[in-house]
């Protein structure tokens, strides 16, 4: 029979042991703070700085979640973390005190100070007052729910919906947008934005002369209706995103597959975006290349097996989610966990997928699941075909508000130089105008995912007709929208513009497109295209670096590729037997959409000589092509 003394000693012992400390250690605990503790000022910052990394935002090391007062009190594997009113006996205090060298929290990072421990003690003694509504759980992802913009956009208003929404935005920031740009600047923007070509001089002249009130809206419609040109232009955009090219690493041994024919057809027929995504996520053979990825011979890091490539690329491109870090370990830069990346990968994999952490096997098998279970579930036990079908449904169903937002954001970034959300691959952030983003997304869905419709809305807005704004080198957090950003012609746009100017295109297209004017997107990259930034599509590319570099200009000034184009072009132009004046007018009209001023005309005529010398034409072509006015879209 145990003696009463023994019982008391045991109770004292277990009380101290409950805090994880010996009685000697417990005596060394910092005292509870004497002042009244304010949760939001005193406690919340400690949790956010020291605890939430492992016990909040979806993480639950030791199965302990700090999310709410209830979950804290309930505790995890080691039992309740605290007992209200009894800080000396609370496990949490014992651990953060650092007095037990074998059992200290946080496991990583700086110890809590004595003052902080004291505040926590006081807080526990005061009954753990927890401010209503505060949670350390993983916040609901932004931009996921079906878009429901709060503003009312009037269909009867003469203003484009984008402009209606920007009115309060501008007013709140005291931005007074300028007058709209002149016709030829607008036309250049529209042609390049919609189909990646310079406006033909004669069409441009007709447009400028046109007195119709809605001629700009009509122009946008007309240009967007040029299906083949549209496809040839947007082919590059999608090739960058879908890692598709005619040549590249991995083709040499059959580990990679093109989707070029399917993609071109989809663009030329303006395939609705939801079907487009579904055919990539749940593909037929001609669109299977995207989720197939690159299958390498030999051993690859576990985070780069085809199933994981598919998970990373699908989520980056269509959902604006970065699963790359989470493919090796719980991510340090966002809330995604290893299990999330492997869950999605499991949807694509042929057999059960073992999870690897930092390239070492964990012995755990990933259960296939979608990364946003709030949108719906995938039956992990179904076969691969069924899983992919379900994945396509979840990606494109009405409950998925992320899909339309991600694409309208990319299109906006294309046309305006900066997305509503930046970076465009990180969609779990607020837009600089949330209603605008939501409205554009909702409008896309309401118009049966017609991307051309969204482009039309954007291109016909007054916002898209404002004077161009210098956006500087990097995206700034203080960005205020004032108009489209000045941007530079892409590698393909530059080459195609030269094509228009010189009549020199490519010889042989990789796709069976019926045209003599073979554009840059239809051929593999040549040295000029590579120098000007056409990427090696071994990884997904969603934004190309824009500013000129010296290696680029070395190619432009010394390179043989450009020199050949100019030489052949000059020969054609000389054949036309124009006078110097006519030639200069023609070049300026085609290249810049205007007539040369007197000084320009004189300089150019001098260079050309009379009769016109081929070398003069080459050099004039070169000089015009180097002008910022030519290379930049104002």
């Amino acid at each position: 029979m145990r003696s009463p003394v023994y019982a008391v000693v045991c109770a004292a012992w277990s009380a101290a042991a409950f805090a994880g400390l010996t009685p000697e250690q417990a005596a060394l605990l910092p005292p509870a703070s004497s002042r009244p503790v304010v949760f939001s000022q005193d406690i919340k910052p400690i949790f956010e700085a020291r605890c939430v990394q492992c016990h909040g935002r979806g993480r639950d090391k030791g199965r302990f979640r700090l999310d709410t007062r209830e979950s804290l009190l309930q505790g995890g594997d080691s039992g309740p973390a605290a007992e209200a009113g009894k800080s000396q006996e609370s496990l949490l205090i014992g651990l953060v005190s650092g007095l037990d060298p074998d059992d200290m929290m946080p496991k990583k990072g700086t110890r809590l100070t004595a003052e902080q421990v004291g505040l926590l003690r006081a807080w526990i003694d005061q009954g753990l007052p927890w401010e209503a509504g505060v949670s350390f759980a993983r916040p609901a992802p932004l931009n996921l729910a079906p878009p429901a913009p709060k503003v009312d956009v009037s269909a009867s208003s003469p203003l484009n919906p984008i402009d209606q929404m920007l009115e309060p935005y501008f007013a709140a920031r005291q931005v007074k947008p300028g007058g709209v740009v002149e016709d030829r600047v607008f036309a250049r923007r529209v042609y390049l934005g919609a189909i990646g070509l310079l406006p033909p001089a004669d069409e441009l002249e007709a447009f400028i002369r046109d007195g119709g009130r809605d001629k700009r809206a009509q122009l946008v419609k007309r240009v967007l209706a040029e299906d083949r040109a549209y496809a040839e232009h947007w082919l590059s955009f999608w090739n960058d995103l879908l890692r598709n090219d005619y040549r590249g690493s991995g083709y040499i041994d059959g580990g990679r597959q093109q989707i070029s024919a399917w993609l071109f057809e989809a663009l030329a027929t303006n395939m609705p975006y939801d079907r487009f995504v579904a055919e990539l996520a749940n593909p037929a053979p001609e669109s299977a290349g995207f989720i197939k990825g690159i299958v390498w011979r030999g051993v690859v890091n576990a985070s780069q097996t085809p199933a994981l490539q598919a998970a990373q690329n699908l989520s980056q491109v269509f959902l604006g989610v970065n699963l790359k870090c989470a493919s090796c370990h719980d991510s340090f830069i966002n809330d995604w966990r290893l299990a999330d990346a492997y869950g999605l990968a499991g949807v694509f994999s042929d057999g059960p997928l073992e999870m690897f952490q930092c390239d070492k096997p964990t012995g755990k098998i990933a259960e296939a699941r979608f990364i946003y279970p709030e949108l719906g579930e995938i039956d992990a036990k179904a076969d691969r075909a069924a899983r992919l079908k379900r994945l396509a449904e979840l990606m494109t169903g009405p409950q998925n508000g992320r899909l339309p937002r991600t694409i309208v954001n990319r299109l906006w970034a294309r046309l305006f130089g900066r997305g509503l959300v930046e970076p465009v691959d990180d969609m779990e952030q607020p837009a600089w105008d949330q209603d605008l983003l939501d409205w554009l997304a909702k409008d896309l869905v309401a118009n049966r995912y017609d991307l051309k419709h969204t482009l039309e809305v954007m291109l016909t807005s007054r916002a898209c007709q404002l004077p161009a704004v210098d956006l500087g080198e990097a995206v700034s957090k203080d960005y205020v929208f004032r108009g489209p950003g000045v941007r530079r012609l892409s590698a393909e746009e530059f080459r195609d513009a030269l094509g228009r100017l010189t009549g020199v295109w490519y010889e042989k297209a990789e796709l069976p497109v019926a045209t003599n004017s073979i554009r840059a997107a239809l051929v593999p990259a040549d040295p000029l295209a590579l120098a000007l930034g056409r990427p090696n599509r071994e990884q997904v590319v969603t934004t190309r670096a824009a500013a000129a570099t010296t290696l680029q200009t070395l190619e432009l000034t010394h390179g043989q590729t450009l020199a050949d184009i100019l030489q052949r072009g000059a020969a054609k132009l000389v054949e036309s037997n124009s006078t110097p004046g006519e030639l200069v007018d023609h070049l300026y009209g085609s290249a810049l959409g205007r007539t040369p001023c007197a000084a320009e005309k004189q300089l150019a005529a001098e260079l050309l000589g009379e009769p016109v010398r081929p070398e003069g034409v080459e050099d004039l072509l070169w000089a015009v092509a180097m002008l910022p006015e030519f290379q930049l879209v104002q």
Binding site: S249, Y251, I252, W296, R297, G298, V299, V300, N301, K324, S327, F332, I333, P423, D425, A468, D470, G472, E473, V486, R487, R488, A531, N536, E538, Q539, A546, A547, A548, T549, T550, L551, Q552, T553, L554, L556, T557, H558, G559, Q560, L562, A563, Q567, C597, A599, E600, L603, L607, E615, D619, W622, A623, V624, M626, L627, P628, E629, Q631, L632, Q634
Partner: protein, 495 residues
């Protein structure tokens, strides 16, 4: 020779702003910054023995058994006898007599071991050698040269910091080579200036074919006038416009600067051309479209590597920062001996022996060797029998007969990753030093002081004053210049 102070004084706004540029951000931990690395080199020249250079046929000779019809492949470890070098205790393979004479200026590592990628694919191992990371990667990993270009810039702001000589990128496994011959996410400002044919290097800094220098300058002047004559106002300023005009200026400056002459091998005294490229007839032009298969290729390219070494010396003098010269990787050619290993190794040694030794001597004579780190390396080694490592064999790619009846089977045809030679000169490395030991019996593997790529890179970076823990930020994560910041400088290599 331009000192640091001179460089900073002369550096154009372009270079300085590029160096100071925020994007991608440099990340250097306090710990790494505190390391306070004192550089011993300003320039790096990498001599790239693409295709797998057999260690026992070059710088780590073993017992030699001459060819005998009917011999077993296991009967030979080397197919050449060994020769003495200027350093007691270090022998080379016959055919490297010139390099043997300058061994006392440098360090020989015999124990470089390549990564285990599960299957021997040259381009994958080359990717790992040049970026420090095994492919594939989730971001476009930068080449060693690009990291150095981004971190240090050129010595002379007019000259490209990173020059890559001797490799065509539109042949063989060109697509796979392009994947690592790039500045990757660091941005194309730091990418390689490619010169596949050193005899034609001058053309890459001259006006394009058919244009006289007079016309070229006239064109530039005309452009400036046309620009000034055009409408101002909204086109007057802005980041994009300034980048374009500044970059055009930089390109033009290179042409008109004295540094451009460095690219022109015709300006080198003819006796020097002969020292670097003994079999080369001055004025002969390498044909970029030449037949790439069989013996014809190797005959046609005689002297190309040697001239590349000479070009590298000239560019180092002119202020480039990182220069790579390769014997060129074309599947099954040059060092990539899947057959005729003996005869081909003899030819490759002829290709490299005179020019590499001459490069070392020339740098020494010009007082540049102390501050120029020269690194000769290959992606892995070769053996007659073993593919991969003894404990980590990989799929055999070459048939090896039980008995060797023909000379074409006599040589190192399989890919061996458990040893390899790296020869280093200058830039602070020890003189006349041997690092590591390999077995004298098959498998001729590393026994002591294994060297892996992140440590080799760490040694190169620290020689230049760059921390192996330096990182650049991409997609909000750090990307370290050595794998995960784990590279450790090999102190024993340095004096």
């Amino acid at each position: 020779m331009i000192t640091r102070r001179d460089f900073l004084k002369r550096a154009g706004a372009a270079t300085l702003s590029a160096l100071a540029a925020g994007y991608p951000r440099r990340l250097l931990s306090a710990e790494a910054a505190a390391q306070n690395i004192r550089p011993t080199a300003d320039t790096v020249i990498v001599l790239w023995m693409a295709g797998g250079m057999a260690h026992t046929e070059t710088f780590d000779p073993k017992a030699c058994t001459p060819f005998e019809k009917g011999m077993a492949p296991s009967a030979f470890l080397s197919t050449f006898p060994s020769i003495d070098t200027a350093v007691d205790g270090i022998k080379f393979s016959q055919g490297l007599e010139n390099l043997a004479r300058v061994m006392d200026r440098g360090t020989l590592v015999r124990t470089y071991t390549a990564g285990d990628l599960g299957f021997i694919l040259h381009s994958r191992h080359q990717y790992q050698w040049h970026t420090g990371y095994a492919p594939p990667q989730t971001v476009a990993a930068p080449h060693l040269g690009a990291v150095i270009a981004r971190t240090l810039g050129p010595l002379n702001p007019v000259v490209p910091a990173f020059v890559n000589i001797g490799q065509r990128l539109d042949v063989g496994e060109g697509e796979e080579l392009k994947a690592f011959t790039t500045a990757g996410f660091l941005g194309s400002e730091y990418g390689p200036f490619n010169i596949p044919f050193p005899d034609q290097a001058a053309e890459s800094v001259r006006p394009p074919g058919g244009m006289t220098p007079g016309r070229f300058e006239n064109r530039e002047r005309f452009f400036k006038k046309l620009l000034a004559a055009g409408p101002i106002g909204q086109y007057a300023s802005g980041y994009q416009r300034e980048s374009l005009l500044r970059s055009l200026d930089n390109a033009y400056r290179l042409l008109s600067s004295p540094a451009a002459k460095a690219f022109d091998l015709a300006l080198e005294p003819p006796e020097n051309l002969r020292k670097y490229a003994p079999g080369y007839e001055p004025g002969r032009r390498f044909d970029a479209a030449a037949d790439r298969f069989g013996a014809k290729y190797e005959d046609q390219m005689v002297g190309r590597f040697g001239l590349g070494c000479l070009l590298a010396r000239r560019l180092a003098e002119a202020g480039a920062r990182y220069i790579e010269v390769t014997t060129e990787y074309i599947p099954f050619l040059n060092w990539d001996t899947h057959e005729n290993g003996h005869t081909r190794a003899a030819a490759m040694k002829r290709q490299i022996d005179a020019p590499v030794a001459q490069l070392v001597l020339d740098l020494e004579e010009r007082g540049l060797l102390n501050r120029t780190l020269v690194v000769l390396a290959s992606e892995f080694s070769r053996d007659a029998l073993i593919e991969g490592k003894p404990e980590k064999k990989v799929k055999d790619q070459v048939e090896v007969p039980d008995k060797i009846e023909d000379l074409k089977f006599y040589g190192m045809h399989r890919h061996f990753t458990d040893a390899g030679c790296v020869l280093l000169f200058g830039g602070g490395v020890k003189r006349g030093y041997l690092h590591g030991r390999t077995a004298d019996e098959r498998p001729c593997r590393t026994l002591e002081k294994r060297v892996v790529i992140e440590d080799l890179h760490a040694s190169i970076y620290t020689a230049l004053g760059i921390s192996p823990k330096l990182a650049y930020e991409i997609e909000r994560r750090p990307f370290y210049v050595t794998r995960d910041g784990q590279g450790q400088r090999i102190g024993e290599l340095f004096g």
